[in-house]
């Protein structure tokens, strides 16, 4: 790997007016109210090359309001998006979300105020027209060479089994370390999966303050869980994890932390906040696969590698999600769920370094346009993370 240099990257992408770079040119239909989601879906289903988000927020202002608006704005402004079509009711809160997205940086956008176009039917036909226009505009743009710093990588695992921490996660860590060294951003999430391993990560912080932040992020999470009297053993490890061989939360965490390799930690990010400079970060996210993916997207992450032992089809509308299986059995029995098999490490047919390099190569290929299994399957999952339930507060 000595022919890789930080000066000339192997990456091509689409620079956006605000300076960030995307690896896809999505046309996103973004409904700002749950009643508009069906129309958004109908538009994106009618126009090939467009995608949409579905959520359950209907404008309510509660303790989750800031979190929800940050995610909706950040997602709409993800650098992989060429154009965003907002479906709105023109409320003050919705307009604030749009402004917030514009402040982060949107390449192109249009707002459809359904109250001005005669309702849902008008929004549907206008939305289709706009989406078609944007899709053909997007096709006219070519990729250009972009630096390593353009890559904001998200590290995720779901449906973990006992091999996750032995095959796919450490192999991903090899790729992540290489990218961080070259000048990219790499982000590890899932606070539940740091519990029990946070001291190891804190010891790798570039700055002792960052180490303290890592410890505090986990402690804050524990306090919140304890305050609500939640028995985490009910959820982590999950039943699927336990069937696969994982016994304790700490065991899962030790294995999960391997995704971040050995690089030093540059910083800690709050949920859905972007990294401002190259390096390895830890982001406070829930363990819910889709909520984590959605938070990553809102933070401007433009590629995700997602390791899985049991296999999950999910992907984000705006981020190409590369699936790496932890075991050969899953890779052969449900091949359309995965892109790369790290189970060869357990089989003894490949080394950790070989698979790590293969993941690195796959990240480059996908960044440069290769479609992932999740993209081929049309997966566009989206979920809003709530710190407070829908029923209470």
């Amino acid at each position: 790997m000595s022919n890789l240099s930080s000066e000339t990257s192997l990456l091509t992408g689409f620079p956006r007016p605000d300076g960030r770079i995307g690896f896809r040119n999505q046309v996103l239909v973004m409904p700002l109210h749950s009643a508009l989601c069906a129309t958004a879906r109908s538009i994106s289903q009618a126009v090939s090359g467009s995608v949409s988000a579905t959520h359950d927020w209907s404008g309510e202002v509660d303790s989750d309001f800031e979190r929800i608006t940050k995610v909706l704005a950040g997602f709409a402004a993800n650098p992989n998006v060429f154009a965003t079509i907002f479906l709105t009711l023109n409320t003050d809160n919705e307009n604030q979300i749009i402004k917030r997205a514009e402040d982060i940086g949107i390449a192109n956008s249009q707002i459809i105020d359904i109250s001005k176009v005669g309702g849902l039917a008008g929004a549907l036909s206008l939305g289709i027209e706009l989406a078609q226009k944007f899709v053909s505009e997007a096709k006219k743009i070519s990729r250009v060479s972009v630096p390593w710093s353009a890559l904001h990588l998200g590290l995720e695992c779901g449906g973990s089994d006992a091999l996750s921490g032995i095959t796919a996660n450490p192999a991903l860590g090899v790729a992540s370390d290489l990218l961080v060294e070259l000048g990219a951003v790499s982000v590890l999430g899932e606070t539940t999966e740091i519990l029990g391993a946070e001291h190891l990560l804190a010891a790798r912080a570039l700055d002792p303050k960052v180490g303290e932040q890592i410890i505090e992020t986990v402690a804050r999470y524990e306090r919140s869980i304890n305050y609500e009297g939640i028995d985490m053993r009910g959820a982590q490890p999950s039943r699927g994890n336990i069937e696969g061989g994982l016994t304790t939360l700490e065991e899962k965490s030790l294995g999960a932390a391997k995704k971040a390799g050995n690089a030093p930690f540059t910083g800690v990010l709050e949920y859905a906040d972007p990294a401002k400079k190259p390096g390895l970060y830890f982001m406070d996210t829930p363990g819910h696969d889709i909520e984590q993916l959605t938070g990553f997207a809102a933070a401007g992450i433009n590629i995700v590698v997602f390791t899985s032992g049991r296999g999950t089809p999910t992907g984000s509308a705006v981020i190409p999600t590369i699936k790496v299986s932890t075991n050969t059995q899953m890779a052969t029995s449900i091949p359309d769920l995965i892109d790369l098999n790290a189970g060869t490490i357990a089989d003894g047919t490949q080394t950790l370094q070989e698979v790590g390099k293969a993941i690195f190569d796959e990240i480059i290929a996908v960044a440069n346009g290769k479609l992932t299994a999740a993209e081929k399957g049309g997966h566009q999952e989206f979920a809003l993370s709530r710190m407070y339930g829908t029923v209470i507060s």
């Binding site: 006992a162 032995i166 391993a197 985490m232 061989g245």
Partner: protein, 92 residues
């Protein structure tokens, strides 16, 4: 096909890479273990005797504690191990 994955010399468990049958003998990396329970692929087997309350060590780190005495060759899982953090007992 190797039967066990031993991650760290400090560990007192190993991960089964294939379903292990009761009574089968494993000789690997200087270890000689008689499998005491049926152990599914991906699950853990004790490679040393572990006393009640002693730490379960994986990757050279503590991942929980034994809730009863565990002998070499036994299945190590939720029936004889508890995590150290966020268990229902700690919450109270």
């Amino acid at each position: 096909m190797r039967n066990l994955l031993i991650l760290n010399t400090a560990d007192n468990i190993a991960v089964a890479l294939t379903d292990l049958k009761v009574g089968s003998k494993i000789e690997q990396d200087g270890l000689e273990i008689k499998v005491a329970n049926k152990i599914p692929r991906g699950h853990k087997i004790a490679t040393k005797n572990i006393a009640k309350d002693e730490g379960i060590i994986k990757y050279g780190e503590r991942m929980g504690h034994a809730t009863s005495n565990i002998e070499i060759g036994e299945h190590v899982h939720t029936h004889n191990v508890l995590g150290d953090r966020l268990s229902a007992e700690q919450v109270k």
